[in-house]
């Protein structure tokens, strides 16, 4: 049985004038960590809300743990954990009170499922008497994850758990998810950070309400059409302008300390011609190397039409 299925799910707002999710179809296998990758406004949160039975879809069917999101909404609510993008715990309850509250409404106790949250909870336990509203961003996130797990859900929904979280805390968070996965929990997680996609078993790229690609992270980047080059010179600011003006350039974007360049056509003499052009423009310490595309390269490539 699949943990989650979506079949042509559509969601609109404002009496149909805003199309938030456009016939989204995908499946999450049992025990899988599945990533929904896309920028703000892509439709990620709407999909989460339909699957967690907080919104009714306008069309299509979806199931969670084999249960229908419309007919069986009560049963679904009992067996899923949901961590919304916005911090939604009780700010004026302490860490421990929040956790106990969520355990109680799911007819369980902290003690019963402590093993599941132990690794995470020990990190915030020193602050268990502190009110949730007074916690740091990283600690709030850990508490929210504990509260979403305390009734031992079969499917876990994490909507942008790492947005606004620094790079080190993000790595820690994904380590926690890895441990949960080893316990057999299916996870649907969304993120706008493309580098986090590599940590999922499979990912769906989403933009403008449409699912654009579904595959493993490794296979996703293999679908990048043509070759990609990293270009560096001593004047990066000028390099970007010169590369964008070059007649053979299909696209050029900055990626950290280099420019990622693709050509309109793959030709043997692409590199020698480009080198001559850039040298004539006065560029020094020129480096041009063919590289493997990353998720962000691929995402830019398949959304470029939409972005003009």
């Amino acid at each position: 049985m699949s943990a989650i299925t979506l079949d042509n799910i559509t969601k609109t707002y404002n009496k149909g004038s805003v199309l938030a999710v456009d016939k989204a179809t995908f499946e999450v296998a049992e025990g899988e960590t599945f990533g929904l990758i896309g920028p703000d406004g892509a439709g990620k949160t709407s999909i989460f809300r339909v699957l967690t039975t907080l919104l009714l879809p306008d069309g299509g069917n979806a199931t969670v743990a084999g249960l229908d999101v419309v007919k069986d909404y009560q049963a679904i609510r009992n067996c899923i954990g949901y961590m919304p993008g916005r911090f939604s715990l009780y700010q004026d309850l302490t860490v421990e009170e929040n956790l106990r509250f969520f355990a109680t409404i799911f007819n369980t106790s902290i003690e019963e499922n402590y093993a599941l949250i132990k690794d995470i909870y020990v990190q915030i336990e020193p602050f268990k008497k502190r009110r949730a509203g007074k916690l740091s961003g990283g600690m709030k996130q850990k508490l929210a994850l504990c509260c979403a797990l305390i009734h031992k859900p079969v499917v876990l929904f994490l909507d942008e758990p790492t947005t606004g979280v620094d790079a080190v805390s993000r790595v820690e968070f994904w380590d926690m998810l890895k441990r949960l996965k080893s316990q057999g929990i299916s996870i649907l997680v969304s993120t706008p950070y493309m580098d986090e996609a590599a940590l999922c078993d499979r990912i769906a790229l989403i933009e403008g309400g449409k699912i654009l690609s579904i595959d493993s992270p490794a296979n996703t980047v293999k679908k990048y059409p043509g070759k990609l080059y990293a270009v560096k010179s001593s004047n990066m600011h000028l390099l970007l302008q010169d590369l964008r003006n070059y007649e053979g350039t299909h696209s050029c974007f900055t990626f950290g300390d280099s420019m990622h360049l693709s050509f309109k056509q793959e030709a043997e003499d692409n590199i020698s011609k480009l080198t001559a052009y850039l040298t004539s423009k006065g560029h020094q310490q020129l480096e041009i190397n063919e590289i493997d595309a990353g998720i962000e390269d691929y995402f830019i490539r398949i959304t470029e039409k939409a972005n003009g």
């Binding site: 990283g138 606004g164 600011h237």
Partner: protein, 247 residues
């Protein structure tokens, strides 16, 4: 002094016995793109609030655009621009109304507001959206508009607090094109980000850990010093030693 936009010496902020900002010393040159990086809770926001004239330091000194943060916070506010990730524009005002509102607050004349407002719309290519409510703009447009509004009064320094969080990859890069254009005009850009590839785009970067500035240099020098290939690895090496996680 002329070409120094910000100069902080042993700048410190305490909240009771908690040292949020711990004797930081750095300088930012006029026209520089300065990356202010650090883990959640490292003290970035507190330091930034002092530099914007919103909070008084406990000790140490700081000059912003030639003004003392103790004596002249009101003068500082007039010559800087500020943009935050969370709030920057009024959703229930139109694009043009937002421009007029902010430009008016910064004391631009009606004539200048009209002229600069139009130039801004042209530069962003959203002239046809002048009467659109900001609430219905895509996030990427909002952020680009918010940045342009933050510098409509041609401030000496603009402070950007995580301006690109959650923005799509193409818009994120277009946003940096705007930053470069502003820096080319001589505006000093002070920017915080959690995207470490963006740290590479800065002229110099400071990395805060537990209230201190533990590294402060150009991205290429920092990478050399830590013998790594990316700013992400530099950050990871420094920040994983952090003791506190507050924000």
């Amino acid at each position: 002094m002329d070409n120094i936009a910000i100069k902080a010496e042993k700048l410190t902020k305490r909240f009771d016995d908690f040292v949020a900002v711990d004797a930081i010393t750095f300088d930012v040159k006029q026209g520089e793109i300065f990356g202010f990086v650090g883990a959640n809770g490292a003290g970035k926001t507190t330091a930034m609030r002092i530099l914007c004239g919103l909070s008084k330091p406990t000790s140490g000194t700081a000059m912003v655009a030639g003004y003392d943060v103790y004596k002249d916070p009101e003068k500082i506010k007039k010559v800087i621009g500020y943009m935050s990730q969370k709030f920057s524009l009024y959703d229930d005002l139109t694009v043009m109304e937002n421009i007029t509102f902010y430009a008016g607050i910064y004391g631009l004349s009606d004539k200048d507001i009209k002229k600069r407002g139009q130039a801004l719309l042209d530069q962003l290519g959203i002239g046809h959206e002048a009467k659109t409510f900001v609430s219905s703009l895509p996030l990427g447009w909002k952020q680009k508009l918010a940045f342009s509004v933050a510098i409509i009064h041609e401030p000496k320094i603009v402070f950007l607090d995580e301006p690109t969080g959650g923005v799509d990859p193409v818009t994120r890069r277009q946003f940096w094109d705007l930053i470069y254009a502003a820096a080319d005009r001589g505006i000093t850009v002070f920017v915080t980000t959690h995207y470490m590839d963006e740290a590479e785009y800065c002229n110099r970067v400071s990395i805060m850990v537990d209230g201190r500035i533990d590294a402060f240099d150009t991205p290429s020098n920092l990478k050399k010093r830590f013998s790594v290939n990316s700013m992400n690895e530099v950050f990871y090496q420094l920040a994983r030693g952090a003791k506190r996680k507050a924000d």
